[in-house]
Assembly symmetry: D2
Homo-oligomer: 138 residues x 4
Amino acid sequence: MTTYTRDFPIRIHDVDAAGIVFFAKYFTLAHNVYEQFLADIGHSIPAAIEQGDYIIPIAHSECHYRAPMRHGDEITGELRLKEIRGTSFVVETTLVGKDGVHRATVTTRHVCVGTKTMKPIPMPDSLRDALTKYLIES
Amino acid sequence: MTTYTRDFPIRIHDVDAAGIVFFAKYFTLAHNVYEQFLADIGHSIPAAIEQGDYIIPIAHSECHYRAPMRHGDEITGELRLKEIRGTSFVVETTLVGKDGVHRATVTTRHVCVGTKTMKPIPMPDSLRDALTKYLIES
Amino acid sequence: MTTYTRDFPIRIHDVDAAGIVFFAKYFTLAHNVYEQFLADIGHSIPAAIEQGDYIIPIAHSECHYRAPMRHGDEITGELRLKEIRGTSFVVETTLVGKDGVHRATVTTRHVCVGTKTMKPIPMPDSLRDALTKYLIES
Amino acid sequence: MTTYTRDFPIRIHDVDAAGIVFFAKYFTLAHNVYEQFLADIGHSIPAAIEQGDYIIPIAHSECHYRAPMRHGDEITGELRLKEIRGTSFVVETTLVGKDGVHRATVTTRHVCVGTKTMKPIPMPDSLRDALTKYLIES
């Protein structure tokens, strides 16, 4: 299994009035890693939206918060596939500081949906193959 | 049991390049309802942050997406307490359209933490009493 | 002249790591007032986008910051039209606290553009008439 | 004169219901470039906030929009100093696409303010020297 990683800093506007990253921002930060991941494996979201055959909306998302992130923290997003099924897959993104402290784990379930029918459809083989390299071995 | 409700519109910037509300925004929209709820029951977050005895960070959050929200949709946030324990509580916010369509359910676990020790502490009685009115009867 | 006003609170996520509202958020908060204004005068943005004859993108925006806004502040957005021309108009939104302190003035120039040609077109008479009531008398 | 440049992609959540980057986001994207610039010249914002002698709030901001940015666009932020005075400086950030199209120019005036007095103070020599290398020659 390969882990896809991506580094990013915590910006001034990621932090809220409590002095830590706002809980909803964890999902945005993890999604930035996911967007770059899809582009890097040849399945960029803008191209998919433009091509128009299918979209991959998120059906469920969750985040387990372990330690706060603060302004200026350097974070590594570690993305792995937790599950790959016929029409859906689950992405797990762990956010870890440069200091080695595990900050949070964001999990999102994505479902392939035909643009015309808006019903689940089998994901394209090329996408499945690309994702499988990042699947956590069970 | 009482349900706390709050209406709000979907703004142009809530929607992303796919034409629907970005999945992370559901958490922000639900948190807006929660912030107003706390202010309305006499436990506003700014006052708590300023007073400085305790904070109530979110330890876990999740969202189940059922139907997309679009620009101009009028949404009602229905907030209820799903669980109240000694040092933590769980808030469930259902997002329902004016059209009656259930869009999503956002669930967040909040833990009372002493500002000095950063360890869980029993929540103040006045907060517990105020929350209990909104507890889903089991 | 009539002034369009709209009250809103500063939320925890409007504030950044410096403990004050992030400078870019002033534009978002002012635009929320503008969106509601357009809806209330019968020219809602979602309807205009869907109808598809013209859009009204922003060609220039600026903000003059006078005093910071903090978490929990209650703000009134006061919207007026500063200028109405053949194909464009200028909106001025003043953000004032419940304490009477003038926080900032946001100014945005909007240009009517035909959706097909993407060139400036005269704004519809009904929109011009509706806007004119809010024009600052010179 | 040196120009500080930084590349970044337009993410799905940068775009709004009109299919283009929301006008307020231009300021956030330009500020990301500015934050990285300050860190790279040895004057990071988190360090300044923590050290606590002075802060550099924005007194005025404006953006001139020339062409829309869309999801997936690769943008280069080109940052230059437009003016350096005793207690303030003006940053100009030009956003240019990989396609060479000039999308927008964001201009922000920053004022050094003493944390205790909250009044303008002369900026530290080390900051002035670092900024001067990026000053547009007149």
